[in-house]
């Protein structure tokens, strides 16, 4: 047995490098996760969403913005030509939902990209320095936590004006506090380790220590937490869209599509129902995946 399979290398009890240990850890997590059928279903949904977003122009049979003939093609029920029917401007709902996946994914990604660094920066700084820095930063965090998320996002959007970019900013502003608390808690456990003390003795400056050594250690748990929050982000964005404060027409955002379809719900149920199903399926996917991840990473507690 001269050659070791990748699998054996990953599962080796005696990793020879830090990278091997880390990859091995990830692989074990993956193996555990794979046994969870619901989590796999969730992963499948998320993968499908990503594929749909990337190949939207190939998948969608019609233009998501330009409608057909208003006199003959409005509010058609689902058929083989229009899988999910058409809306009040004679646009193909299926095509709009396919393109809408881009909006959804964009929102989720942007919120994660904006909120994670803020949370990490605030949390690690507070945790590392302690004292009054900690008090001030955490007080600010608490103030943001004191508002229910959707409501604070509403107030921000009101101030910034409706639109998808502003909705992203508003959601990001309201999402970072939990990450900051998590990062702070992690930092507190790391701060006094010998490892950090050694680096400090070598004369490294605080920003460097935080950025180079503390942040990477907090990163993984924060990222997991962000993943768990994604369903919530999708629902908040859809809620804003529904209230007319998120993505604006003619953008095919699912929440806004429900809002515009709600006028027709009695006679033309599909207009509001289809995008609702899309939101539901995607957010269920993220939730299932997140749930599975949580089980694997933290088998004891649930929160």
């Amino acid at each position: 047995m001269a050659e070791m399979s990748t699998r054996d290398w990953l599962l080796s009890d005696l990793p020879t490098s830090r990278r091997q240990a880390k990859l091995g850890q990830t692989y074990r997590t993956w193996l555990l996760l794979r046994q969870n059928r619901l989590a796999m279903l969730g992963l499948g949904i998320v993968a499908l969403l990503i594929v749909m977003a990337i190949f939207a122009d190939v998948i969608a049979p019609f233009d998501p913005y330009a409608g057909g003939d208003l006199r003959t093609e409005r509010l058609l029920p689902p058929s083989w030509t229009h899988l999910m029917g058409t809306d009040d401007l004679a646009r193909d709902i299926f095509s709009r939902i396919v393109y809408g996946s881009r909006v959804t994914l964009l929102v989720v990604a942007m919120v994660a990209i904006i909120a994670t660094p803020i949370g990490l920066a605030v949390g690690t700084t507070a945790g590392y320095f302690g004292g009054w820095v900690d008090t001030v930063l955490m007080r600010i965090t608490d103030i943001f936590l004191a508002f229910p998320r959707l409501i604070l996002a509403l107030a921000f959007v009101a101030a910034l004006g409706p639109g998808i970019e502003n909705a992203v900013i508003a959601i990001a502003i309201t999402s970072w506090p939990p990450y900051a608390r998590l990062a702070r808690a992690e930092t507190l456990t790391i701060r006094n380790t010998d490892y950090i003390a050694a680096i400090r003795l070598q004369g490294a400056r605080s920003p460097r220590i935080i950025w180079g050594h503390v942040v990477p250690l907090c990163m993984s748990s924060v990222i997991v937490r962000v993943t768990l929050d994604m369903a919530g982000i999708i629902l908040t964005a859809a809620g804003l869209g529904f209230l007319g404060l998120g993505a604006q027409p003619p953008q095919p955002e699912w929440g806004a599509m429900i809002a515009s379809g709600r006028r027709f719900i009695i006679d033309f149920w599909w207009v509001a129902t289809m995008p609702g199903i899309a939101i539901f399926v995607v957010s269920l996917g993220f939730n299932l995946l997140g749930d599975g991840l949580r089980d694997v990473l933290d088998p004891k507690g649930e929160k």
């Binding site: 409608g67 208003l70 009040d88 401007l89 004006g161 409706p162 027409p249 006028r263 027709f264 009695i266």
Partner: protein, 533 residues
């Protein structure tokens, strides 16, 4: 563990108990008229300040003006609280005589003192609609001299110029001309505010109904006025319930929970057309849907571009589909039903023609432009359709949605490219729209008045003079001709793409009869409504 299912069953039972209160087919009380309407724009009930559609209608049913007009033929003007009036030789002074033996709901008699008080009060308070009266040369300083009581039942109304009599009389039919009960209002005065704080939420009129209660965004309740001088209404009570959604209103109407639904969309109207319990009634309103093209934009300032855009709206299709039953195509600034209204519709969707015009303007490839859109479902839908037809000629239109106040703030600052919106006339005279669409006395950025022509930076000294001349024309027929000529020119050259005139639609239970739908909102009357069950 047997207990688990048992507990679950108990919990399920509790829930089931909560459910089966299924409402039977409801019926509204026989002596109460219940309407569902979006009434969140009501901010006051004071005639000196009311300017909103909904509040106007409420006041129209609860107050009385000096003069009124026949809703079927607005040229027939008659006295209501005024018995008669005379115009002086020089055309500058009206002398009104008040009808005898009329009283307010409070029981106080109506005299010339109340009329003078109501008009001077509105001018001194100087709220939003005050210009309807102050345009005749009144101000807080001079009004006591210009509007003067000359006897118990007579008063004089002196203006700075000999305005067209129809203009003056039509302005007095607006809600700001409604007569309030001086004794009652002054009894509630505080700090010299002419009872302003009190009247915001209270009532001091003489109409067929009294306003009993107003809860913002919830409901308005009116009750029969026992002291009303005319025939007593059949309804003892009329309730407006705030229901923001057309679809919801339709459900309530079908279930019989309300008598009238006021905000039905095109789809609801179509769906209700075959209903056995519901009928659809409608009336043409004065509101106009238009696009304003800002002349500060280099592309839109070109006459050919303005003209091209008028050929890039699919008027007929919009009116037949997404706005079916809610609008009719109309392309001049005076709505149908007004003196001198122009009903020609020279423009229709014609992409080829528009492309030619754009080529003439030196823009054969089109251009990019933004449009500010108020985010109501209807304006949004119209905009999206226009966006598509514009694109066919190469005009890339980006829609910028915002709520009403945001788009308006931007529009008034002249920071828009294109603004799409709705304009409702302030009173029944043609000057109301000519004043805003065809007059721009000062095009400077810091101008005192901001008519629509100013907002679109359209500098028109000559047209302004023409509009001013029409105001002073005494002969009604000549005056009508002047407005028609003005509109014919305006239609071709103006930066306004006027598209539709609004039709107000009522979904009513079949048993409701006698609702009068007038041309302006304060003409909508349920005084004669009966329920024939």
């Amino acid at each position: 563990m047997k207990h688990v299912p048992r507990l679950l069953a108990a919990a399920a039972m509790t829930a089931v108990i909560a459910l089966p209160f299924a409402p039977a087919q409801a019926e509204t009380p026989a002596d109460t008229l219940i309407q569902a309407w979006t009434i969140d724009d009501v901010i006051t009930l004071d005639p000196a300040e009311v300017f909103e559609f909904t509040a106007s209608e409420v006041l129209g049913n609860s107050y009385q003006p000096l003069v009124g007009y026949d809703v079927n033929d607005v040229s027939d003007i008659f006295g209501v609280i005024a018995e008669k009036w005379e115009i002086s030789e020089d055309g500058k002074t009206f002398t009104f005589t008040i009808r005898r033996d009329m009283q307010f709901a409070s029981g106080n008699p109506i005299t010339a003192e109340d009329a003078v008080f109501s008009l001077t009060r509105a001018i001194k308070l100087d709220k939003s609609p005050a210009f309807i009266l102050t345009q005749f040369g009144f101000s807080a300083d001079n009004v006591d001299d210009m509007i003067r009581q000359t006897g118990d039942m007579t008063f004089e109304f002196e203006m700075d110029k000999p305005y067209a009599p129809t203009l003056v009389l039509y302005c007095l039919t607006a809600t700001i001309g409604f007569i309030v009960d001086k004794e009652l209002v002054m009894a509630n005065e505080a700090n010299g505010d002419f009872g302003y704080d009190w009247l915001k939420t209270n009532y001091a009129g003489s109409g067929a109904f009294t306003i009993r209660d107003w809860r913002a965004n919830e409901l308005i309740v009116l009750e029969r006025n026992p002291n009303f001088s005319g025939e007593a209404p059949a309804m003892a009570r009329a309730i407006y319930r705030h229901i923001p959604e057309g679809a919801t209103q339709r459900l309530l109407l079908e279930q019989g929970d309300i008598d009238i639904a006021r905000n039905l969309g095109a789809e609801e109207i179509t769906a209700l057309a075959d209903s056995e319990d519901v009928k659809i009634e409608s009336g043409v309103k004065g509101s106009i849907y238009y696009m304003g093209l800002n002349q500060k934009n280099e592309y839109l300032a070109k006459p050919e571009v303005r003209q091209a855009m008028k050929y890039l709206v699919d008027y007929a299709t919009i009116a037949d589909t997404i706005m079916k039953g809610k609008v009719q195509v109309h392309q001049a600034f005076l709505p149908k039903g007004f003196l001198g209204a122009l009903e020609d519709t020279p423009f229709a969707l014609n992409v080829e023609k528009a492309k030619e015009l754009l080529a003439e303007a030196g823009l054969p490839e089109g251009f990019s432009v933004t449009m500010d859109v108020r985010n109501t479902p209807e304006i949004t839908a119209i905009s999206e359709v226009i966006q598509q037809t514009m694109a066919e000629a190469g005009i890339q239109m980006e829609l910028i949605p915002g709520d009403g106040q945001q788009t308006l703030t931007k529009y008034r600052a002249r920071n828009h490219d294109i603004y799409i919106g709705r304009w409702g006339p302030d009173y029944q005279d043609p000057h109301t729209n000519a004043d805003t669409f065809a007059r721009n006395p000062d095009n400077a950025d810091d101008a005192a008045s901001k008519p629509l022509a100013w907002r679109n930076a359209w500098d028109i000294p000559e047209m302004t003079a023409k509009a001013d001349a029409a105001v002073l024309e005494k002969d009604t027929a000549t005056r009508a001709d002047m407005y028609i000529a003005l509109q014919e020119e305006h239609q071709q050259v103006s930066p306004f793409v006027i598209m539709f005139q609004e039709i107000e639609v009522f979904g009513m239970r079949k048993d409701v009869n006698g609702f009068i739908i007038g041309p302006s909102f304060n003409d909508n009357s349920f005084r004669a409504v009966t329920k024939d069950r």
